[in-house]
Amino acid sequence: MIDEDFTKSLLKKHSYLSQRDSIDWFTVECPDKEIVSFTKSMRDDEGFEMLIDLTAIDHGEGEESRFSTVIHLYSLVHRGYVRIHSLCLDNDNPSMPSVAEIYPAANWHERETFDMFGIRFLDHPNLKRILMWDEYPYYPLRKEFPLAGIDTPLPAADVVEVTKASVEPAPMMGGPFVSSNSGPMSDSEPRAKDESWTERKEKPL
């Protein structure tokens, strides 16, 4: 069980941690430079043998710290999870120390996070895209990336030469439809949240 005794002693042991309110699992905020030593001690001293999940959140372009990573650890001893938030300090070139050395499971999760958000994981053994192709120029889960996609050249130059084809964005006319719950009623008709390209607006260039 992850009880108050455990969380208190953990916070005492690692003074750089700060606890965050959470409705489910014990959640801490850990500075990025401490993340490697903290996860190592979680694995070796506290019995958190499994890194269940590693991902990132894009808090939006205007935010002071735009990106943060979230790690979920699971312990067979405590039969419970711990969530670790870390802020990426640089908004333009976000980076985070890699924990793939400590938890091999993080290897692919970090590649995916790099692929989707453009967060570089320092000292990662093989940091390249995993779901998109290697030459793909965008980071699709960033908030400014449109749901419809962006016109992108195909990865193989010789194929492009013959086909003159590219990856085309998909128009959003078909939804998904959501109505906003603010503003006048006349605007609250359900429509696609991403309206960069609909029957009313031209395809963005």
């Binding site: 959470s22 409705i23 489910d24 699992w25 043998e49 499994m50 890194l51 269940i52 999940d53 991902t55 959140i57 894009d58 979230v70 979920h72 067979l76 039969r79 419970g80 999870y81 969530r83 938890y103 091999p104 499971a105 290897n107 692919w108 995916e112 989707m116 895209r129 995993i130 779901l131 998109m132 192709w133 699709p140 889960l141 990336f145 749901l147 010789d158 194929v159 013959v162 086909t163 084809a165 128009p171 006319m173 939804g175 998904p176 439809f177 959501v178 109505s179 906003s180 719950n181 609250s188 359900p190 696609a192 949240k193 991403d194």
Partner: protein, 413 residues
């Protein structure tokens, strides 16, 4: 929308694979398997370096089925995303539906009534049986035994008929809603399920007779693809693959959800963590699922099958909408604006047939999630392949992949 058809001719793509050969030293050969190959159970691609028949390096290439589910989730209401969960692990869509609904309900601090919980446990276990039946069948095929597949598929077909009667669809069930399920179980359906599980052990016995003590099957699977306890944990394996390695982790026991704590069942674990253990664990899990299903049906709770106090979250059933103004407005708001979920973050995992399917949802309030991460068990289970495959013969890779029982729909999302 107009469509265009282009006819194109391009050079020999296979020659690109040959190019990789020239980079290797000595007699080594580069071999590309997939993305479209029967062994890879979907669109997994493997780039291997072979020394004779021996695999020296294996690099899985993913993403051929990437649809951007997480991006899509950020752009639609919670209920609109339910059909997308069908398409994660498309061999057990009902378990995905349930895992997703439970996550959002946890964020909304919503408790569903016992009948709804029982329905969910029932469909989860039926989905587990269906997924394992397919897993066992194709695993036999991968090892060269074609016949068991016919037996397991016959049984799976019966399950799909039951799913169709319950949800209206065989494959893409979209059965759960936030705060309940799409409809109550039809009259007489439970009796049909009971009849099905009563005759299932006989069919499983027939598969076992064909495979479990089959000399050829044993030779091909025993000691192949051994995963140690340490590796299984380090690579974040879950589900039968982890338990076959000897680790007792089943979220239905450790973190019971949806009323699993009421049911009596055993968690099979393996000893060696090889392909054969993974097969045995799946067989036993089917038997245990039958036990759970029987217990659920025996004490099937009466009462509401959706959370009646879930205002602004669960759209009331049709007959209420038609007869009451209040309910009509509620339905309208839920359909257009989505179920109103409070701000916060939540991570929930359910024990799915393939492993722990996790959803991490960050909400800023309203009907649309701000961020949703899907922790796909197949993605994590495959990550061990880079370590597991080297040292095996090329012919073993089919057996190893079959025993890991992954689904690319969920892996690539």
């Amino acid at each position: 929308m107009s469509t265009t058809t282009k006819e194109i001719s391009i050079g020999d793509i296979g020659s690109r694979g040959a190019e990789a050969n020239s980079k290797l030293e000595g007699d080594r050969m580069a071999l590309n398997v997939g993305p479209s190959h029967p062994t890879t159970h979907g669109v997994l691609r493997l780039i291997m370096e072979l020394n004779g028949d021996l695999i020296e390096k294996c690099e899985p290439v993913l993403g051929y089925l990437h649809r951007g589910d997480e991006k899509i989730a950020e752009n639609m209401t919670y209920n609109q995303f339910v059909p997308y969960t069908d398409r994660l692990d498309y061999l057990a869509p009902l378990s995905n539906n349930v895992a997703y609904a439970l996550t959002v309900e946890k964020l909304a601090n919503l408790e569903v009534p016992p009948r709804c919980q029982a329905i969910r446990v029932l469909v989860c276990e039926m989905a587990r049986i269906s997924s394992h039946l397919l897993g066992m069948g194709v695993f036999g095929m991968d090892a060269g035994a074609w016949t068991p597949f016919m037996y397991t598929f016959t049984e799976r077909e019966k399950l799909y008929t039951l799913f169709e009667e319950l949800t209206g669809a065989r494959f893409t069930t979209s059965y759960t809603r936030i705060g309940g399920v799409a409809r109550d179980v039809p009259d007489g359906w439970l009796a049909k399920v009971e009849k099905f599980v009563d005759q299932l052990p006989k069919a499983i016995g027939e598969v076992e007779k064909l495979l479990t003590r089959n000399r050829i099957f044993l030779d091909r699977t025993e000691g192949i693809g051994e995963i140690s306890k340490e590796d299984a944990l380090a690579y974040g394996l879950t589900g039968p693959n982890l338990r076959a390695a000897g680790i007792d982790l089943d979220l239905r026991k450790d973190k019971p959800y949806s009323g699993y704590e009421q049911y009596d069942f055993d968690v099979p674990i393996g000893t060696r963590g090889d392909c054969y253990d993974r097969y045995l664990v799946r067989i036993e899990e089917v038997i245990q699922s039958i036990r759970i299903i029987k217990q659920v049906i025996k004490d099937f709770p009466t009462g509401a099958w959706y959370a009646e106090d879930a205002k602004k979250i669960f759209a009331p059933p049709k007959e209420k909408i038609m007869n009451s103004m209040e309910e009509l407005i509620q339905n309208f708001m839920i359909v257009t604006e989505g179920p109103q979920i409070p701000a916060g973050e939540v991570y929930f995992e359910a024990e799915n047939p393939k492993g722990a399917l996790g959803f991490y949802v960050v909400s800023k309030g309203g009907g649309v999630p701000y961020r949703m991460k899907i922790r796909a068990p197949s993605f994590c289970n495959l990550s061990i392949l880079e370590k597991l495959a080297p040292g095996h013969f090329l012919s073993d890779i089919t057996v190893i992949l079959g025993s890991l029982d992954f689904v690319m729909g969920e892996c690539d999302r």
